[in-house]
Structures are given as C-alpha cells and as structure tokens.
C-alpha cells in the first residue's frame, strides 16, 4: 500500500468550485433466524464455521431455497422507501472467483430487484428535509469472512495464510441503491450521513435488523464525483467501500471531495475505482480499478424459481407497516411538548428511545429530557460511551424524577442519588434511604434550625420581623446548610415567615 500523501484542497474551497454528486449503496444484514437460502442459523459471534449447511458451504449437490421471512423483510424495506414492489422478480448469479464465496458466485438480484423507484425524505440537523431518490432495493446473500494471518495489519498482501469463516456466508442482505444524489452542495457529507442514519433508524423501526453499525449489520459504499457546475455532465466517480459508521460516512465524503478537487485542479483525471476507507487515518486509498474488465457474467439463477409476492401479501404488509422514525418523532414531540430545537437536540443525541422508555416508566417528559440531555449526557460524553451504556436504566431515572416531583428530594439531592445509582448502590429509592438523602419534611427539626439561624443573625431577623422579606434567603441558606441540603427550601421559607410574623 502506498504511503504517499496526497495533496488535498481545503473542503470549503473545493465545494465552492465543484459540485459534488453522491451515490450511496447500503447493505443491511437482515435479522432472520436462518440464512437466505438454507436453514443454517444466523447468530452473531458463533465459533467459526459452525453456522453452516451444505448449501452455505456450496457443497456439490446442495440447492438453495428462498427464505420467506427475508423476502418479507425486503418488501417491508421497499415499502418504507416508497418503492414499487415487483409482481415477479428473479435472483441472478454474480460470478467471481474468491474464497469467501464457496460457490464462486453470489446469488443476488440483477435486473429484476424486488423493490424499485422509491425515495426517502431525510431530515438534516437543522430540520431541513432532503429527498433522496431510491433506484432499487434488492436481496442477496452475504459472503464469508476472510482473516489474513501473518501479514501486516491483517491485510492479504504479505499474509502467510488466510482463514475463511463461512458463518456469514449466506446471511440475507438487502442492498439499497440510490440514484445519483444531486444538489447536495457543501452539505454532501451531512446529507450522506443523515441518509445512512435515517436508513438505520428505519431498519430498527421495521424490526428487520438489529442494524448495529459496529457489528457490520449496516455497511455503506459511498460513490462520489465532482463536476464543474450542476449543469455539467456527471464526473468520474469513486466508490469508497465498507464505510461502517455515521461519522466515517461524513469524513469519507469530505475526504473524497478534497482529494478529487486536488486531482481536477491539477488537470488530472479521477480514476474510476474502488477505494478503501481507513478509519484511523481518515483517508481513502486506492483499491482495485473498477472498469468494464470486471465482468460478473450475471445470468438468472436457474436453481430458483421467480419470487412473485402476492398483491394481497404486499398490501397486508403495507397495512401493518409500523410507524417510521420521522412520523414517530413528530408524534412524540407533540406528546412531550418539546420545542423544535429541544426535539432536534434529542434526536441528534440519539436519546429518543431512552427518553421514551423513561416517560413510559412514569417520568414527566420534561424531567426525562432534563436528566438524559443534561447530567447524564455530560457523564456519557466524559466517559465516551453511549447513553444506553451508562449504568442507569430509564426506570431508575423515572423513579429519580418521581422522587423530585413528590418533594421527597430536591434537585441537588437527586444528583447525589444519581451518583449512588451510577456507583451501583441500587435504585434511587434505595440510595436515598441508604445515604439519608431525604428532604426533611418534619417541621420540628426545621423550626429548630430556623430558630438557631434567626438567633445567630439578629440583624436579619429584625429586618424580616419588620416586614422586609429581602434577606429571607440568608436564613434559608443557613437552614439548608444546617440540614445538609435536605430541607425543602419552599417549606423553610414558609416557616421563616410564619415564625417572624405576629
């Protein structure tokens, strides 16, 4: 691999002078129980080559049978992307020799995808909606996983040998292909990211995949080209493969814009090729040159009959489509009474599920937002973990807020109680009891503290008695200090006034 560094054009400069055009292919691994064409179980993390059958090992004599649930998932995805669903479609063989595919052909769909001609409205961070045209969504099988041993950095070049795990071979995939995404301008990276994230949210809402980026359940190939103006013909594109996080999608687009602009500035041609994304260095590097020389010799899969989903089935799936993320966001915002900016922050922080769960567990929406977007967001950020990974459950947060709402603890005590929950001391209720955090609700000890404070500050006491309530805060402060913050400030104020009048 070349270590040559490439000149880059500053991103802002590049998008001022060139018009970027995106094209994104997203593969999603379906969360079916078994594989696309056989009964081998699909489960993440199995011992290598244990989730296989003669079919997924490509043994002679084995034949594929289509997984109905996978077809159903593909139709659901197609419907969510506003696609037409084919009345009849076929699988095709994509022929190429590579050890990750034991048959040396991938069973995919070629000219007859199950879903086609759709669109997806993508909401950007500032609330703008951008429409991405969908060319097609088709079904295919995943390949096995190669591990190269003995070379540098797990790469094939220089490796002593390679191991192949066929557990992944035959896992059902749906590939979603956009039409060229034009008019993105300087927002190309953001739009690419938002598109992939919106798809991920849809996969989860449809319950067709766990859609975990870090496990490679969702993988994006990002095509990018530049042209002089939006009126110019499309430029030569590169395809950056397997960009597997939202942030990487954004960075890869930025990088390619800057790199291609530098080439074009220098009068060089952009080479149509596959490129690899290097997460660590934030750069892409040249893979194989993609040209017409690469001929997959597609032809209809003769071992399978056409898939012809009955219209009644498609319509029943359409009728049963769950609420999609955009609709859900609008509904929840209405229910929770959040302002637009508040809701956007929640969405951008990926906190919508956790807040919904917290509200479901009995918290007020405002309380749930206060905790997850405030104290807990800070803690997650400093620990560099997701909100969901913090050692506190939505139920515990709801209980905490309930304690505040009922006046048993105040905000300050609540933060101490949360501290205890995060430290593994149990539920908020238990922490409050164990740490003795409860607000002093018995007037006796409060009156004692108030009398002591009034006696200690006779000048202030006198002013209050003469009707000047300005300095009451000083007495309240003293009482709070004396009760280690466990007094209800409102009640203390009432009692001070009571004590000093008449």
């Amino acid at each position: 691999m070349s270590t040559r560094t490439v000149d880059l054009v500053d991103y802002d400069d590049a998008v001022r002078r060139y018009d970027p055009v995106l094209g994104i292919e997203v593969h999603v691994e379906l969360g079916t129980v078994t594989k696309m064409f056989c009964g081998a179980e699909v489960e993440f993390g199995g011992e290598p080559n244990t989730q296989v059958t003669p079919v997924s090992l490509g043994l002679p004599g084995a034949l594929p049978v289509v997984n109905r649930t996978a077809v159903e998932s593909a139709i659901k995805i197609g419907l969510a992307l506003n696609c037409s669903i084919a009345e009849s479609c076929r699988f095709a063989r994509k022929n190429y020799f590579y050890p990750d595919n034991p048959k040396n052909f991938q069973t995919s769909q070629y000219d007859e995808p199950i879903a086609f001609d759709g669109y997806l409205d993508v909401e950007l961070e500032d609330g703008t909606v951008f429409r991405v045209e969908i060319e097609r969504a088709h079904m295919e099988e995943d390949a096995g996983k190669n591990t190269h041993v003995g070379g540098a950095g797990g790469r094939i070049s220089g490796a002593e040998y390679s191991l192949v795990d066929y557990n992944r071979a035959g896992i059902p995939l749906v590939e979603i292909v956009t039409r060229p995404i034009e008019g993105v301008g300087e927002r190309a990276p953001e739009i690419a990211r938002a598109y992939v994230k919106t798809l991920r949210d849809i996969f989860r809402a449809l319950d067709v995949s766990e859609a975990r980026m870090e496990r490679g359940n969702v993988r994006a190939d990002v095509n990018l080209s530049l042209r002089a103006t939006p009126e110019s013909p499309l430029g030569t594109r590169t395809e950056t493969k397997n960009v597997n996080s939202f942030r990487s999608v954004e960075r890869a687009v930025r990088y390619e814009v800057s790199r291609q602009a530098a080439l074009l500035d220098a009068g060089d041609a952009v080479v149509q090729e596959t490129r690899h994304w290097h997460e660590d260095r934030g750069v892409t590097s040249s893979g194989r040159v993609k040209s017409d020389a690469e001929d997959y010799r597609y032809f209809p899969e003769p071992d399978l009959v056409p898939v012809a989903p009955a219209r009644s089935w498609v319509e029943s799936l359409r009728a049963a489509q769950p609420e999609l993320p955009v609709e859900r966001r609008r509904r929840l915002q209405g229910e929770w009474g959040y302002a637009d900016a508040e809701m956007r922050d929640v969405v951008n922080a990926d906190a919508i599920d956790i807040i919904e769960a917290t509200v479901a567990a009995g918290s007020s929406p405002a309380g749930a937002r206060k905790w997850w977007m405030g104290e807990l967001a800070r803690r997650a950020k400093s620990a560099e973990v997701e909100l969901a990974e913090l050692p506190v459950t939505p139920g515990q947060v709801a209980q905490l807020q309930g304690l505040v709402d009922s006046g048993r603890i105040n905000d300050k005590l609540a933060r101490q109680a949360l501290e205890g929950v995060l430290a593994g001391e149990g539920d908020p209720e238990q922490v409050v009891v164990a740490r003795g955090l409860e607000v002093v609700s018995d007037d006796g000890p409060l009156l004692e503290a108030i009398d002591a404070a009034l006696a200690a500050q006779p000048d202030i006491a006198e002013k209050i008695r003469s009707g000047n309530l300005g300095p009451v805060g000083a007495i309240i402060g003293a009482v709070m200090k004396a009760t280690r913050g466990q007094a209800d400030a409102g009640r203390v104020r009432e009692l001070v006034i009571e004590r000093t009048s008449a």
Binding site: P60, A62, V65, K103, N104, F299, P302
Partner: protein, 319 residues
Amino acid sequence: MTGTVGVKPTYGGVSRYGLIALASSLDQAGPVTRTVLDSALLHELMGGHDARDSTSIPEDLPPLVDAARRGATGDLTGMKIGVVTELDGEGYQDGVRARFAESLDILRGLGAEIVEVSCPHFEYALGAYYLILPSEASSNLAKFDGMRFGLRVEPEEGPVTAERVMSATRGQGFGDEVKRRIILGTYALSAGYYDAYYGSAQKVRTLVQRDFDAAFEQVDVLVSPTAPTTAFKLGEKLDDPLAMYLNDVATIPANLAGVPGLSVPNGVSDDGLPVGFQVLAPAKADDRLYRVGAALEAALEKSWGGPLLAQAPELEVRS
C-alpha cells in the same frame, strides 16, 4: 442406442437435491433400466415433490407403473401419436430409419392413430442447448476450485496464492470436454455477448416450448428415433465435438422444454448396433411415455421372442 430403456422425467419431477449440477435448468435425473416397467418402478420411487429443490413440482406424480402395465397389454386404441417431421430424414442412418418405420407400423397395429407433426424450431434447439448448457456449467463447476473440498493442486513454481491454487486445480482436474464447455459458457455469458448468445438461446428455448405446446394440442405423444445414428466408438469423435453434439439432436428439444422423454430399444441397425425409439409427452404427463413405451416393447419382444439384450453377442473376454 445403448440397448437400454432410459427416461428423462418432466423437469422438476425428480428432485435434483444431491445431484452434482452440470446445467441446472436442464439437469434431470431419471431411470436407466432393462425394461420399461423397471423404469416406471424406479421413477415412482425417485420422483415426487422435494422442498429442498425449489424447481421441484409440488404435485404427486401421475400413476406410472399402472400406465406401464396397462401399455404392456398392447392396446393403444384412441392414442394419437405425432411423428416429428424435423427429426427424421437427412442425417439419419438407413437402419435407424427402417427400425423407426417398423415401430410405427406396430403402434398403428395396436390401435394408435399416427400423424405427422411439424416442430419448426427444433432445428435451432441444438445450438441453443449448447449455449445454455455450457453457460450454466461454467457457473456450476466454479465451486471445484480446491479451496474447501476435492482435488487441490498447488502450482509447481511461484507463490501459492488462492488464485493460483484455483487455477492449477482446475487446470489439472477437468478434462478437455469440460474445459471446452466452461470456456464456451464463460464466453457466452460475457457482458458484450450475453444478448447475442445466452439471451438468444433462451428465446429459442421459448420457441421450442411453443412448438411442443402446439404439437400436444394435436397429439397425445410425439415420437422420433432417439438418435440419428448408432453408437460411435469410445473417444472416436473427441476431435470433432460438433459431430458428437449432433448426435443429441433428437433428444435435446425435450430437455430444453422440460417435457418428459423415453427411449426404448427397437431393434438393431445394419451395423448390428442397437437403435432407440423416442416417445415425448407433455410436462407432467410422464404416464403416457410408459403406456406407449411398454406397448411397443411388448410387441417387439413378442416378435423377437425375448428381450433385445438376449440377441447381443457374447463379449470378448480379454486376458
């Protein structure tokens, strides 16, 4: 032409699960036996729906053994038999033609009505078949690469990479005829040639199917000689594959269309070698093959005084 009874069932009538695939859309396992009844018995055992083969017909087989027993009684009254005009004449050995004509007389004598039927697209079937078969074979045989199972040959010199092991394994493991077909099929599926070759072949296939559909509206079964000539010697035509392929001209239309066919020995040609009589029926009507085949077999054996195989000369015993 082998002196045996052979049946190619309706495509999808016998599961292909477990068969090593050559050309998936053409492959069909069937019985090869001494008698028509044996074939029917075996066919009923082999056939029927198999959920592991997506192209398997999800229906019960028609009663084959009953049809064979009924045919052997020698009554074909009401049966309308079509002789395929295109599968006779030029290129067919005199002895083959003579036996065929005699067999037709026998069938007529058993009460069948014999008519001529034209299947105009059959002449393109051979060309289409020899594009579709190698195309599918080139893909089906790709798995024999030495990676996970079977023969594995490492290159004699140079680095041992996956690609080079695949190349060496396939170079050594496949014979000339297989390599010829893989190369032909790879070519036919190539991007620039797909429409001209594989695509056109599939169109011919549809036309052949329509010929059968039209023919079976007029007759119950079609008949022809099984092959234009008697068997050539082992390896004799290896250098002339086209001549070798031409020998399949009569049996290929049924393969392309997926309809069932049966070959029953109907005597020996002038060279003393056995010839076959082919019966073709509509898809899923395999029982008709057995009825006609068994009737002809019974009448012939009666005239011969026993099975044809009994007339075969003693084989030379080599020391």
